[in-house]
């Protein structure tokens, strides 16, 4: 598997602010790659330089074997872009919108209509873009990014400003995007989103990559305890503290919370005591990774 994107020592400053400060990463063909970080971390600037919208101050970018800067018309039909805000022609319907976009890539209206169906907007085809809900507008802009079947697609915070339900719905669509070997690069400031969708995640803060690995490896490398919550009324804190392997016991409204670094042993013990009804097990998350990397709570 070759690299679809190679980025080396990338840097960009806006006046005094060093927005991107020596970033290096590769994205493999067919990979679902996440760039994760809080607002203002430099995610969008990195993405815009890789897309060819901005000129880097320093460093090199190779996108599908070519340089994206200056504007490279040969490269543009091979990439698809969804920008942070939903960039639409005013007062067009969803169908007119995607057909117009399709025409710019010499793609026919039938293909455009097919994408509208595929993102679940078939019944909204005649709705003006301004009347779509936030989630529908994001689906339309994702469909517009994919209408010419690009090899690499860039999605800049596709779930920003959506309610949790709409976010989850969109994940199903996003998860299938690299099925056909397409490379996907996604920026997000949601930890759970990166965890659910990405093959590998680069955690960015202050324009630098703090860590780059699969979500599982990132969490595994983290020395974070597993938290097991036993529903109220089944176990007293004293009984819980007596189980071998339990490091710490807390009480919260949901029940008794056991911290452990030996979850298998503790869960076995709980099973033997028949306390498994309503049990919740929470392993380390990217939030914990971020906390351990930066020493501060993750702020979205």
């Amino acid at each position: 598997m070759g690299a679809a994107i190679e980025v080396t020592d990338l840097a960009k400053a806006y006046g005094e602010l060093q927005a991107v400060d020596g970033v290096t990463f590769d994205v493999g063909e067919g990979e679902f790659f996440g760039i994760l970080g809080p607002n203002g971390a430099g995610k969008t600037t990195i993405l815009e330089m890789v897309e060819g919208l901005r000129r880097p101050d320093a460093g090199t970018i190779t996108l599908l074997g070519e340089s994206p800067w200056p504007r490279n018309p040969g490269l543009l039909p091979r990439i698809g872009v969804q920008l942070q805000s939903t960039a639409f022609f005013e007062r067009l319907t969803a169908r007119e919108q995607i057909r117009t976009m399709a025409s710019l890539y010499a793609v026919g209206p039938d293909v455009a209509d097919g994408w509208l169906e595929r993102v679940g907007l078939g019944d909204k085809a005649d709705t003006r873009v301004g009347d779509l809900s936030g989630g529908q507008a994001q689906r339309l802009s994702i469909a517009c990014a994919l209408v010419h079947d690009p090899e690499v697609v860039f999605l800049d915070e596709p779930t920003a400003a959506l309610d949790p339900q709409a976010r989850r719905n969109l994940w199903e669509l996003l998860a299938g995007l690299n099925d056909s070997g397409r490379t996907v690069v996604l920026t997000t400031h949601y930890m759970d989103e990166a965890e659910a969708l990405c093959d590998r995640v680069a955690i960015i803060d202050h324009g630098r990559i703090l860590e780059l690995d699969t979500p599982a490896n990132l969490v595994r490398g983290l020395d974070a305890p597993t938290r097991i919550t036993v529903a109220t009324g089944q176990l007293t804190p004293e009984e819980a503290g007596a189980i071998a392997g339990v490091d710490e016991v807390l009480e919260d409204p949901a029940g008794v919370v056991l911290s452990t670094r030996e979850p298998v042993a503790v869960l076995t013990a709980l099973a033997q005591q028949e306390h498994l009804a309503g049990i919740q097990v929470q392993t380390g998350t990217l939030e914990d990774v971020f906390l351990s990397l930066t020493g501060r709570e993750y702020r979205a």
Binding site: L53, V81, R91
Partner: protein
């Protein structure tokens, strides 16, 4: 289904966006047309209204008038018959009628009011003239002297002749500058411009589509204005009027560049349109779009000469209604083209991708 070219697809998207924006259509077409109807319809007919005449009893002088003369008489007087002299005079006193006439033997007596001096003079003069000519006719001798009156102004100086080119110039200036300002600013703020930059469409195609639509709108405005003017308000175009087409196209480009300047400088779309309006509306007044500048002070007329809309208006007046040859449009075209080039270069320099 047929696949559209990028140029066609973009143009169609822009046209749809325009036609579905009621405010744009209103300000481009309906609003200036309201002015055309106002100026053309209300101010065009400057002639006096008829004199209201009350005829008391039989007035042989009027009743026995030959048909031809009676028609001429009826052009000046609106005759109402009555039998009550006192009531008729009372009506004239109140101002409800302008004159009451009665026969006393061979004398035609006219009771008139001085309230409207013009009508009073017209009444006396016309009645005297009719009495005199009747006397002459009764004498059986042909009149020795004849009067033939001719107005020095021909019809081409009617109000509609002046206001149509000026209002058309204003309408085109508005829609071209507003359209460019709103498009540049709106597309930048929605990141559509960025999105198009990342599609394989060339800048030439994009700009070409936007310019074609605006020029198309301007020519539509021209067709509506001239069509309505000719059909409804007696507008008469002189020989070289087709020369106004290239003039209007260059004028459209010039005002698009002004709109682009506003769009490049302003942060929001509303701000951009307001700024374009702030430039175009005063310019319309100073360029004589609404009324002639002949009576304006010399310094104001001098200021007008540096405004692109003045050149557009003068050029259109020359070739459309003043009967000048097509070559009269040449200088305005050059001036407008120079304006467009300078302002476009300025707005390209001032343009920023980011608004913050």
């Amino acid at each position: 289904m047929r696949r559209r070219s990028a140029f066609t697809a973009l143009s169609l998207a822009i046209v749809r966006g325009f036609l579905r924006d009621r405010a744009s259509v209103f300000f481009a077409i309906v609003f200036p047309l309201m002015f055309l109807v106002l100026f053309g319809g209300l101010f065009a007919d400057q002639s006096q209204s008829k004199v209201d005449m009350l005829q008391v009893g039989g007035v042989s002088f009027i009743d026995e008038m030959p048909a031809g003369e009676k028609a001429a008489f009826a052009e000046t007087f609106d005759i109402t018959r009555t039998d009550d002299l006192d009531a008729a005079i009372a009506e004239v006193k109140k101002g409800d009628a302008d004159v009451a006439v009665e026969m006393q033997g061979d004398t035609l007596v006219a009771h008139y009011t001085q309230t409207d001096q013009v009508k009073a003079a017209v009444t006396q003069g016309v009645l005297q003239a009719f009495v005199d000519s009747t006397n002459v006719a009764l004498s059986g001798r042909p009149p020795t002297y004849r009067l033939e009156a001719e107005r020095v102004e021909d019809d081409s100086l009617k109000t509609i002749q002046y206001v149509t080119p000026g209002l058309l110039g204003w309408a085109v200036a508005m829609s071209a500058s507003f359209g460019a300002a709103a498009t540049l600013n709106g597309w930048r703020n929605s990141k559509l411009l960025r999105r198009l930059q990342l599609s394989p469409v060339s800048t030439n195609t994009l700009v070409g589509a936007r310019v074609s639509v605006t020029v198309g709108v301007a020519l539509t405005q021209m067709a509506i204005f001239l069509g309505l003017g000719v059909a409804a308000f007696g507008l008469r175009l002189t020989g070289a009027w087709p020369a106004a087409v290239p003039l209007l196209v260059v004028g459209t480009l010039c005002f698009m560049s002004i709109g682009m300047l506003a769009g490049a400088v302003a942060k929001t779309t509303e701000g951009a349109v307001n700024m374009a309006n702030f430039i175009v509306l005063p310019m319309a007044f100073l360029s004589g779009s609404f009324f002639p500048l002949d009576a304006a002070p010399a310094w104001l007329q001098a200021v007008a000469h540096v405004l692109p809309l003045w050149w557009l208006n003068q050029g259109m007046l020359d070739v459309m209604v003043r009967g000048e040859p097509a070559s009269a449009a040449l200088l305005p075209i050059l001036v407008l083209a120079a304006f467009a080039a300078v302002v476009t270069a300025t707005s390209a320099k001032l343009f920023r991708w980011e608004t913050t």
